[in-house]
Amino acid sequence: MKARPALKMTRELALLALLAAICVGFGAADENFRDPYNFLDRTRQWVEIGLIAVPMTFIIATAGIDLSVGSLLALCSIITGLCFRDAGLPLAAALICGVLAGGAGGALNAVAVSLLRVPPLVATLATMAIFRGLAMGLSQADPIGGFPRWFTDFGSISALGAGDYLVPYQTLILLALVGLGVLVFRRTCLGRWTVQMGENPKAARFSAIPVNRVLFTLYAGCGLVCGLAAGIYTARFATARPDAATGLELEVIACVVIGGTRITGGNGSVIGTFLGVLILGTLRFGMDMLGVLQQYQIILVGLLVIAAAIANEWLAHSTD
């Protein structure tokens, strides 16, 4: 049992070292990477992925998965847009509707996985299509715009700080959720039960763990976070689009895998996931500054994910 904490510390330290090496490497190569305004402004692009990666860590730790997060984000964004434009609600109320819609979507996943015992991969594959279809249908496949200036400024311009050191508000929200996620994962029963359910699902059901309640909390919670991320995404792009966040789920899962959480469940690290988000984010940022074309960026990211997955397995087995 003592081996496990040591494994986590090694893994997270290695990720931190990788992050540091990336920053130093690109920082030396390009002055625009070193520019604090550029770097802090760039974190806006990591927020939606980072937010959803937190509950995704828990879900993957239970040996589950949620492929519907991108579609759910689009659906919540559209619902916010429709409430604002067509139902005439004030924007704050429309945003809350979006978050609640996320909770409802997550609850649907939760019911399928916990009560109906559908394998999470299958259930969320289905809801991925259902949510996307609803988003397309409700919006008639047209984007919704016309949001007020304060809202779109929040997404792309407003920040806390002075001079070149401006921390975007959405980045602060991300840091808060990550902090919360770390606390819940390490210090609460929910966190412990999550890992135990992933380690041995059958044993978990026979022990005192309220498996269905945990699953419900995790998937519905993930849905609520998708709703939150949808609000930020809508602000950043100043439109609610039914084709938003296509492929987001894969980005999120990549961060979780790089962070050290195994797809087969039984372990996890929210700090690792957060480092994964930072690593992928800074890697992309550095490549953009150097002018690397998109097609090569995708290859490098793919290689990184494979390397991380191999490292996960190697580290896991070497301490058995």
Partner: protein, 343 residues
């Protein structure tokens, strides 16, 4: 402990490889090997709605020509689909790379506005071309022709084809493209005044999203759903050839008159076969050329609020009014002149 040391060593190797690969794969977007931030040459980013279609390839030619003439670094890049969120992300990168000016044809005027505002806040000149963005978010708009001139040219060609009491339908690109929407709006205004007996069979235009194959499919659907339609407008450089292909397949070009906006190279075979008799455009090479000239003018102060015209290289004197830079008049292409052009 051994794991940590091995891990850190492996980490450093991987990162060194990543940075080396990036360095090797980089400089993909630059057209001139001027060394980027050399300090002397301005860097102007030119972004089409999407890359890979004839119309914007011609714009690229003009932009690069102007760049060479003016001694400016032109970076031409854009998304592979007409997606405004991808355009936003690319503009963010250009802001971070501290370009001097951004020249863009946005896919959505409102969605692109926040990021353009951010660029201006960072001291970057913003010029739109082909399609405008929210005017408060950009410095100048390089318009190919006045909206009314394009509208009038298209309607007159259609009247020649179907008479002053025929029925027609619009096939556009995307419902958020400002240029297409304003053209259609002015066309309706113009023909309601001059040809009130003509009939528009569908209030909402049909959509083809800059996808030629989709345009063909939608046109075939139009022929089925509106069997009495006399004329079709193909409002984008991709919709028109797509629709022409449909008319050729269905052998319908004798009973349906097709016209619209597209490039001579895309339309040459259809015009030669008589599938399309006349269509309208302007010179996109000139458009790209002018846009870069205008952007440089904004950056170095050659264009200010009081400027009413500029000398734009080989184009001569170009008028500026209401923060719009006007290229000129539309051109009507037909079998007699289509071979004179190569774009």
């Amino acid at each position: 402990m051994r794991h940590t040391r091995t891990g850190i060593r492996a980490t450093l190797v991987v990162t060194a490889l990543a940075v080396a690969c990036s360095w090797g794969c980089s400089n993909g977007g630059r057209q001139q090997p001027d060394g980027g931030n050399s300090g002397e040459a301005l860097t102007i980013g030119v972004m089409p709605k999407l890359v890979g279609i004839d119309f914007f390839n011609a714009v690229e030619k003009g932009a690069i020509e102007a760049g060479k003439e003016l001694g400016v670094d032109v970076v031409y890049d854009g998304p592979v689909v007409n997606d405004v969120t991808k355009q936003s992300a690319l503009v963010e990168s250009w802001i971070a790379r501290k370009f001097d000016a951004i020249v863009i044809a946005p896919n959505d005027p409102d969605a692109i506005a926040p990021v353009l505002r951010k660029a201006r806040q960072r001291g970057i000149a913003v010029v739109t071309f082909d399609a405008d963005a929210d005017p408060a978010s950009r410095d100048y708009f390089v318009n190919q022709c006045t909206y009314d001139a394009v509208a009038k040219a298209l309607v007159e060609v259609m009247v020649e084809g179907i008479g002053p009491d025929g029925s027609y339908i619009y096939l556009t690109g995307s419902l958020t493209a400002v240029n297409q929407n304003i053209w259609m709006e002015r066309m309706e205004q113009y023909r309601k005044e001059k040809y009130p007996d003509m009939k528009n069979l569908s209030e909402t235009p049909k959509v083809s999203e800059e996808d030629q194959a989709l345009a063909t499919q939608v046109t075939i659907d139009i022929l089925k759903s509106y069997p009495d339609v006399d004329g079709i407008y193909g409002m984008t450089s991709v919709a028109l050839p797509g629709a022409a292909e449909a008319l050729r397949k269905e052998n319908a070009y004798d009973r349906v008159f097709l016209t619209g906006l597209s490039t001579p190279n895309s339309m040459r075979e259809y015009v030669k076969e008589g599938v399309v008799k006349r269509f309208v455009l302007w010179d996109p090479v000139d458009l790209g050329y002018l846009a870069v000239h205008a952007a440089k003018g904004v950056v170095d102060g050659g264009i200010t609020d009081s400027t009413s015209s500029i000398q734009a290289g080989r184009l001569g004197q170009i008028q500026i009014a209401d923060r719009e830079v006007l290229l000129g008049e539309p051109v009507i292409f037909h079998a007699g002149n289509i071979d004179q052009f190569d774009f």
